[in-house]
């Protein structure tokens, strides 16, 4: 999770956690761990006293980044597009997003 990004869009209270994408509460079946994370995140709501507060939660993921790596089953559409047309990466970085095309007629 990237708490700086969440804070930049104006979230009033942010709980940061260094967990990998796709499982912000913890591993499947880890009830105690999920409960601890949820409790700590809710406590941020009562602990934060000023708008834009970011509090880093003290949890450590039990796997190395290498072991925790988990990609989507196929690369996301935008990743596939940038691979085909690398020059579009500039637009993505600049958040210069083209207007959506009309849905393709079937």
């Amino acid at each position: 999770m990237i708490p700086e990004f969440t804070a930049s869009v104006g979230a009033p209270r942010v709980a940061g956690i260094e967990f990998p994408f796709g499982r912000p509460l913890g591993l499947p079946g880890d009830r105690a761990g999920q409960r601890a994370v949820l409790t700590a995140a809710l406590e941020v709501i009562s602990r934060a006293r000023t708008p834009g507060t970011v509090i880093q939660l003290p949890f450590t993921w039990p796997q190395s980044p290498r072991d925790a790596r988990a990609d989507p089953p196929v690369p996301p559409p935008i990743v596939q597009l940038i691979k085909r047309k690398p020059w579009l990466a500039v637009k993505l970085l600049a958040r210069d997003i083209p207007d959506p095309r009309q849905p393709t007629a079937n």
Partner: protein, 183 residues
């Protein structure tokens, strides 16, 4: 939810972007992208609704960006995003308390959905919230929770119609606290 009573000063985006130097589970290209977006994000006044009672008296609703839709609801539109990768489905789904991984699918195309498919509480901790409610840590779990798709590049519809619709339903269900759970 409590009425917003005061707004905070916008964060210094240059400083926030510099802090995205190292996250052990975020790869280099994603860090670069996020830094670039933070620097370009316009300054927002930060909304602020003071908590006026203890958590043990608050009704809590969860919001997930995993793109969760129940099997009895229309799925999120993955096909259109595949055709137009700049586009995102910005609709939302109400997720009733009691929904489990057996009842719903995860449609976010930018994460590995297996964890949430195996145990929905990895992304939307409804059972854990019910436990906290039963133990008196929170006052209650709302009847309805919410999900929309993550990775929305141009969130006009999300801001103009999806977020107001969700907050209106939360208000109708007397929700005190909304916890957004990114994925």
């Amino acid at each position: 939810m409590t009425e917003t009573l005061a707004g905070g000063q916008p964060a210094d985006h240059g400083e926030l972007a510099k802090r995205v130097r190292f996250h052990p589970f975020v790869d280099g290209p994603t860090r670069k992208l996020v830094r670039s977006w933070i620097e370009r994000e316009p300054a927002h006044p930060v909304p602020w609704a003071p908590l006026t009672k203890p958590l043990s008296a608050c009704r809590v609703a969860l919001v997930s960006s995993a793109g969760i839709a129940r099997h009895d609801q229309p799925p999120f539109d993955q096909e259109r995003e595949r055709r137009d990768p700049w586009w995102s489905d910005q609709s939302w789904r109400p997720i009733p308390l009691g929904t489990t991984e057996a009842d719903a699918g995860i449609y976010h195309l930018h994460i590995d959905p297996r964890f949430g498919a195996q145990d929905l509480d990895c992304v939307l901790p409804l059972r854990r919230l019910q436990e906290l409610s039963a133990d008196g840590v929170v006052g209650g779990a709302a009847a309805t929770h919410y999900s929309f798709m993550g990775y929305i590049l141009q969130p006009r519809q999300l801001l103009a119609s999806t977020a107001p619709a969700i907050t209106a339903r939360m208000a109708a269900e007397a929700v005190d606290v909304a916890l957004l759970v990114p994925v």
